[in-house]
């Protein structure tokens, strides 16, 4: 129905901006409708990191696009929190400053959302309460080991021990 779509659009639009500014420490992000007909219109996204006048979202950098994508997913979660959120190395393109802000957003949301995240990044590992290590001591066969956070940060420094 038209009213419901407009309502969802407005809520996600304002959440998107909220999470975007949290991850980038400023700037703005918003959604636009491509057509007047609420029942059929497409939706486009626009984002401006702090101090920039971006003409076209495709000009954004790899890390900026990842940050906007994360903000968009989280803005949907706020409206309809699915039982869990699975993230596979979404932090790979982020620099340390944006990654730190991303981690604090996840920490905040984890009060109501269950996160399961895959990462190679030591500072993201420190966000976890529980770390599960996957090893392949026997080539081609996955096994689980439980790892404590402090140990993990050392382990990745010397990946040999996880992969041997």
């Amino acid at each position: 129905t038209k009213v419901k779509f407009k309502d969802i659009f407005d809520q996600i639009n304002s959440n998107l901006n909220n999470y975007f500014t949290k991850i980038f420490g400023g700037g703005k992000a918003y959604l636009e409708m491509t057509d007047n007909d609420l029942l059929n219109t497409g939706v486009s996204m626009m984002a401006r990191p702090p101090g920039k006048l971006v003409k076209n979202i495709n000009l954004l950098s790899g890390g900026e696009k990842a940050g906007v994508g994360i903000a968009f997913v989280f803005s949907i979660f706020k409206i309809n929190p699915a039982p869990f959120c699975l993230l596979d190395e979404v932090d790979a393109p982020l620099d340390e400053a944006n990654n730190a802000r991303f981690c604090s957003v996840v920490k905040e949301m984890s009060k109501t959302v269950q996160f399961i995240f895959i990462t190679h990044n030591k500072s993201t590992m420190e966000l976890a309460d529980i770390l599960s290590g996957v090893t392949m001591r026997e080539p081609g066969v996955s096994k689980l080991v439980s790892v404590n956070v402090g140990e993990a940060v050392n382990l990745t420094a010397n990946k040999e021990s996880l992969s041997r």
């Binding site: 969802i8 497409g42 990842a66 906007v68 309809n80 699915a82 993201t124 976890a128 996957v134």
Partner: protein, 168 residues
């Protein structure tokens, strides 16, 4: 409703029965390249009804069954079980009486899958029904695959619209 654990057997590199539990809201998964981390994500999407082999990085549906290694022969079937704790009953009234929901999918080399819900055989449609309205599903906004987060902002306007509709 929250995901309490996942059981894998014969699925991709998880040839031996393996249980991964999620006692907290912040679980990290780490390990070297190729060790099986993303295979866990594939397992969760598969048990929830993913029907495209390509979306599981394979060519045919039996590519999810362990195909052997230098020290082990291939196996003939695979199964995945997801255990949900439904204490606070956020699902449809129909499922209110279950405090735990277990969905299971198994497949054999002929590519035929069987689904079951709390140990009772059911159809793929029934699994999708469990998750209706929760935002979950094999291609839901709640599951971000490796490398896809940056491509999300490059999606076409009609694709972005479907994300909003899923949230409704």
């Amino acid at each position: 409703m929250r995901l309490s654990k996942i059981k894998l057997a014969g699925f991709k590199t998880f040839v031996d029965p393996t249980v991964l539990s999620f006692p907290s809201n912040l679980t990290g998964i780490i390990g070297p390249n190729g060790c099986g981390k993303s295979n866990i994500i594939d397992a969760i999407r598969w048990v929830m009804g993913e029907s495209s082999a390509r979306n599981l990085r394979g060519e045919s549906m039996d590519d999810v069954i362990f195909s052997g290694s230098s020290s082990r022969p291939e196996v003939s079937k695979a199964f995945i079980e997801l255990y949900f704790d439904n204490e606070n009953n956020t699902l449809d009234a129909k499922f209110a009486r279950f405090s735990e929901i277990v969905i299971r999918r198994e497949v054999s080399r002929d590519g035929v899958s069987n689904y079951s819900l709390n140990n009772t055989r059911c159809r793929r449609k029934d699994i999708r029904e469990v998750f209706l309205g929760t935002g979950l599903g094999p291609r839901s906004y709640a599951i971000i695959e490796q490398g896809m987060i940056s491509r999300l902002v490059e999606s076409k306007p009609e694709e972005l619209r479907t994300y909003l509709e899923e949230a409704a």
